[in-house]
């Protein structure tokens, strides 16, 4: 737990001289996986996450017979960190996938009703697979950016005789909103954004906030083993709303 970056953070400074509420440099590359219907690699400083979107066909859930399906999966590939292990997703990978899923689903940024082919029988399935390539902290925010960027890059393939024709496309996946997830961290009495891996050692509680273009809050997830006051939470939500506006600009071209 002892390291220079985290000791610095305790005294309110950052090893790379960033401000406490400043993100590292963000690089988004879309369309990099030719076999995927959509893809993006996002670098957040040295954290690198690849998201790929595959479109498949499936039977809808009985209670939503005319909606497409969204499935978000995350792999903490052992590639990305000496602490990750091979095997089925653990607690943290499961939580990350579900928090990203919730932000996409609850913001209604994809109109799942548009993805129904035959009610009760055949709908499109949108698989978002999140692959952590290098873990240098703040995985959820980076994974959400990568997932959104991949969805915005996604084309819906042609369907013929109830089968997908790979490589031929009908139209873009309609993405109605650009929700952003921002994780606000608390260290002592300070709020910090986008911690690096070494900084995360001293973070005791976090709140991930998903904010939509219209400033609606679409998801919250408290993390970490320490409590928050009501005031903390309100401040953290304000910080997240502000930062989401800045991050959303990355997608305005």
């Amino acid at each position: 737990m002892e390291n220079y970056a985290s000791n610095l953070l305790l005294s309110g400074k950052r090893i790379d001289n960033r401000k406490l509420d400043e993100f590292r440099e963000i690089e988004i590359k879309q369309g990099i996986i030719d076999k995927a219907e959509g893809s993006a690699m996002v670098k957040l400083g040295k954290t690198k996450i690849l998201a790929g979107v595959k479109i498949g066909l499936g039977t809808p859930f009985p209670d939503t017979p005319n909606e497409g399906m969204l499935i978000v999966n995350a792999e903490f590939t052992p590639l990305a960190s000496p602490d990750f292990e091979s095997g089925p997703p653990g607690e943290d990978a499961t939580e990350l996938a579900r928090v990203v899923d919730r932000g996409i689903r609850e913001s209604k940024c994809i109109d799942l009703k548009k993805l129904c082919k035959t009610p009760r029988e055949m709908v499109l399935c949108v698989f978002v697979d999140i692959h952590i390539i290098n873990h240098d902290g703040n995985l959820i925010d980076c994974a959400f950016l990568a997932s959104l960027a991949a969805l915005m890059d996604t084309k819906i393939p042609k369907i013929k005789d109830d089968r997908i024709v790979r490589g031929k496309f009908e139209k873009d996946l309609p993405v109605l909103y650009k929700p952003i997830e921002v994780t606000v961290c608390k260290v002592d009495d300070k709020f910090v954004l986008d911690p690096m891996f070494k900084e995360e050692a001293v973070i005791e509680s976090k709140l991930t906030v998903c904010v939509r273009d219209d400033e609606k809050i679409c998801a919250l997830q408290k993390q970490g083993s320490k409590e928050l006051t009501m005031d903390d939470i309100k401040k953290m939500i304000e910080i997240a709303i502000d930062k989401s506006k800045e991050l959303r600009k990355l997608f305005e071209r």
């Binding site: 919730r102 913001s107 609606k216 919250l220 009501m230």
Partner: protein, 237 residues
């Protein structure tokens, strides 16, 4: 999961007759599982959870032990018959996540530094599921830990709040949950007002959200009194 297009609030009353800030009938019992070190059963209307606590007991395999403190583990599980379509036994992704947030909701309230190398296990079974199961589980786990004699800073009290038909309501049942515009799972240590669980789904403005949080806090105070009387009952015996 049932979706409905009907109104959920009619003339200020929810479909089950409750006012918007009413809880469902709450039942809290402790010491319901004799073999356990602590246990509790908590029902909010048709949602019912039963919890047992084992420990502190030595943790094996040894490499999981912490030399400076005991650790807390939680398992949230839904019984196959607790929901409309039978749930296949075994943990799914939802259960894995809820187990984690439940542990984090309870951890700040326990202190296990006097029990190095041990584990306290909290097993939560949902027997009947009708919305707000995870907060029922936290409430039950909290008093089960107390009856087990695990040292605690405070109880952890949890409730759900949500938005249906444009109104903020507390303690969503299953139908309300499936048709809500937003729902929040919230837990707090009431004495110093420290929040230990906060999850939200849906779409709320900042103002609505802040109002929801205050409503959740207020609701937890009511539940806190119920927890305390359930515990008092048990210490009488």
């Amino acid at each position: 999961m049932v979706k409905t297009n009907e109104k959920l609030i009619v003339k200020g009353k929810r479909l089950d007759g409750r006012a918007i800030e009413d809880l469902r009938p709450v039942k809290m019992d402790v010491d319901v599982i004799e073999r356990a070190d602590g246990s509790a059963q908590v029902a909010f209307g048709n949602t019912e959870t039963i919890v047992s606590v084992y420990g502190p007991r030595k943790l094996y395999p040894r490499f999981l032990q912490k030399s400076d403190t005991g650790i807390l583990r939680c398992r949230y599980n839904m019984a196959p018959f607790s929901v409309e379509d039978r749930k296949r036994p075994g943990p799914g992704r939802r259960s894995i996540e809820i187990s984690k947030v439940t542990r984090l909701a309870l951890e700040p309230a326990t202190f296990l530094t006097d029990f190095p190398k041990t584990v306290v296990d909290v097993f939560i079974e949902v027997l009947r599921g009708d919305g707000s199961t995870r907060v029922a589980g936290v409430n039950a786990a909290s008093i089960a830990l107390a009856t087990a004699g695990v040292p605690m800073r405070d109880l952890v009290v949890a409730c759900s709040v949500g938005k249906i038909d444009g109104k903020l309501v507390v303690d969503l049942n299953g139908l309300e949950d499936n048709n809500s515009e937003a729902d929040i799972a919230f837990a707090i240590m009431p004495s110093k007002e420290k929040v230990t669980l906060l999850q939200m789904d849906g779409r709320l403005t900042k103002e609505e959200l802040f109002e929801s949080l205050d409503l959740a806090k207020k609701t937890c105070k009511k539940i806190y009194e119920m927890q305390k009387s359930a515990l008092k009952e048990s210490f009488k015996d």
